[in-house]
Symmetry: C2
Subunit: 412 residues, 2 copies
């Protein structure tokens, strides 16, 4: 039966999917495993930074009042009464004409109100120095709390943890880090033309590449992939396989089987489960047959069997749902503008998402399709770092026009 499908816009499709968003749970991981995860709670400063008044330089802690008349032609002699390594504390209070040798980061001793840098002093014997420069009250002191005040929010939840965030987590004592649990996403391949990756080729068949590609996309998005292999082409077995998969994962993706072709089982399976089909036709190329259904609040994705369509379908409709599950501060791919460096002669009845490669040259972002012609499938797959979006209802695009691009590999 040839079904009539009602195409919706890319934005409407995204909206319908996002209406089914689910949030994940919080789990704790060791700080050494936190990089690349999503912070699940605000990080609060458990102390001031610095947590004491400290020296920003290697030098001598002194009393500014003792340096009043010091100048290049008027050395003043001070007595070195101690030595403070980083991490140790000098217990005495400085008296008149006292100086204490101090290392970068060490606590300012009582009585001292400034630090004179080592290069502004001169050794004058075993326990004496000359200083040749007047110091001001509170000069060269890093005051307690000047970087961060105790109790303030250091990093907000939703942030992707990078090495700089790890440094902050360590500084504030987060040995165990609250992160968002990764969603588990099931992957099922359909298509009687598919061989597994380790099978020898046969006429009429191709190796299953979509499932492996999708699993890599799942991982890149910060989720966990679970592969269920290839579907049977018998409806009853399919239904059983799908039931098992749905019970074990947060979201389920099938690749292939969503066209209006005679052999495509997915619509029948959705019918059987009485799943609500959110849409089965989008005004976009490739991937117009991308189908999403939901069953008991679980999203079931039917991505196209065509590799480009499958790739695009994932990034546009699965990635945002992963971001939402992780409660990230950035939902979906980052979008920026770029200048086309090549003509795109085809017209665009629907929105078109082409795999592209953007570069930055002289602080300008330019982009070109990464596989210009159909013989360039390999280059397009391996070299794409963005999608180029060409709006539906437009004629050809010319070199020099500014387009929207969606960044695939940019994590910051």
């Amino acid at each position: 039966m040839m079904e009539i499908r009602n195409p919706i816009t890319v934005e409407e499709a995204a909206k319908r999917v996002m209406a089914c968003r689910k949030y994940g749970e919080v789990e704790y991981v060791d700080i050494t495993a936190a990089n690349g995860r999503v912070l699940a709670q605000d990080i609060i400063a458990d102390h001031d930074v610095p947590s004491f008044d400290r020296s920003p330089y290697d030098g001598f802690a002194v009393r500014s009042i003792d340096t009043k008349t010091a100048a290049a032609d008027n050395s003043i002699l001070l007595n070195v009464v101690g030595h403070i390594g980083a991490g140790s504390v000098f217990k005495q209070e400085l008296k008149e004409k006292d100086a204490v040798r101090i290392m970068t980061g060490a606590a300012i001793p009582r009585g001292a109100d400034t630090v004179i840098m080592l290069e502004d002093t001169e050794q004058a014997g075993d326990n004496q120095i000359y200083i040749k420069r007047e110091m001001k009250h509170h000069q060269n002191i890093s005051f307690q709390g000047e970087d961060v005040e105790k109790g303030s929010v250091i990093v907000s939840k939703g942030k992707l943890i990078n090495p700089g965030v790890v440094a902050l987590l360590a500084t504030f004592g987060y040995k165990q880090v609250p992160v968002s649990k990764k969603p588990v996403i099931g992957v099922i391949a359909t298509g009687s033309e598919l061989l597994e990756v380790d099978q020898a080729l046969e006429e009429g068949k191709i190796r299953n590449s979509n499932a492996y590609m999708i699993m890599a996309q799942i991982e890149r998005s910060g989720a966990t992939a679970k592969y269920y292999g290839q579907f049977s082409d018998k409806l009853d077995i399919c239904i059983q396989q799908m039931q098992v998969a749905m019970s074990e994962v947060d979201f389920l993706i099938t690749t292939g089987g969503v066209s209006v072709g005679d052999f495509d089982l997915l619509p029948e399976i959705y019918d059987y489960f009485q799943a609500e089909v959110l849409f089965n036709k989008i005004k976009m190329r490739p991937g117009s047959v991308t189908t999403v259904a939901q069953l008991n609040n679980q999203l079931l994705y039917g991505l196209s069997g065509n590799p480009s369509a499958c790739y695009v379908g994932f990034e546009l409709y699965v990635k945002p749902i992963i971001d939402a599950f992780l409660d990230r501060d950035q939902i979906g791919l980052k979008t920026v503008k770029a200048t086309l460096t090549e003509d795109f002669p085809k017209s665009n009845p629907f929105d078109r998402f082409i795999r592209g490669h953007y570069v930055i040259k002289n602080s300008q972002v330019t982009v070109a399709p990464s596989g210009k012609d159909k013989s360039n499938m390999v280059h397009s797959l391996a070299e794409a770092n963005c999608f180029i979006r060409l709006r539906g209802g437009t004629a050809a695009y010319s070199k020099g026009e500014v387009v929207d691009i969606y960044l695939l590999e940019n994590h910051s």
Copy 2:
């Protein structure tokens, strides 16, 4: 003893480090674990793509000669003699006025030389169709080998594997993927002021954040970190600890202990081992005391204890050595130009590397320091996605000037 150090340029320092480059080995991982690894061998097509002449559309395989006079006002009747699903093969040869129903991706049957799209036909009974359009010889056929020829190099070694590359690996039967073995990098923290991340604060002390930050940087760079904890401040124990570490890792990083301060042990340790110090002073800020030595062809990094300097030292001198070990096609951080959106009023006696945040707006890359003033340590750590390089020997930089930036998080 106050040692005189001879500062060298950033480029000279990088050159001396790279002269000690080591290559890693090849290992095989399952295709599901290949994303994010570095390809260690060229990937060769084991078959043509397509591997047989196939249909790019859903429609009917026909003989163009039978369509010669077809037009909108002149329907031609063909006999549907078969049905080819994707993956199956039609064994008969087409005879005069024969048509075979064919699915996208299926093999073209013998005798047919074109595919007419489903929408250009009309059902004329159970086993007959009308066609209303003349088809040309070889129209709508994807020919064997037109995408990729058997034997050609699909992806070159050194490439970071992304989901597109995974799709190619699957297509060409790479169930096991040759990747570069990750180097193991040892991390040792030094500094008597350091507490571990789970210890309560004490006056004069700070928690060890550098080691955790560096471990995250190591991971981000595609290597494996091995943490040896904090060094003893007793020379003989240190030497023993270092000996163990060196025997277990490819490269060793210590943080702290490289200043000319009185408590810094590292120079003594290098002396003890008779390690060759490649440099211990670089014309850069921060990180001028970054020290690199080599012992029996093993690089020993002495990064500064200052967090910013430590971070910069890693990215400039350790990351390229990791890339080299992995035999990547991109060595070191990617560098592009960006326009400053803020004044930078300080002069730059040496090259200055500031943590920055770049954005793309209207296809222009702009950048600002991510921690403008010293109270902004947190923002600088968490939000940096690049370094801004300000050249030594320059006065202040102004808003609008174009500078070099080094991208920290861009993997493509």
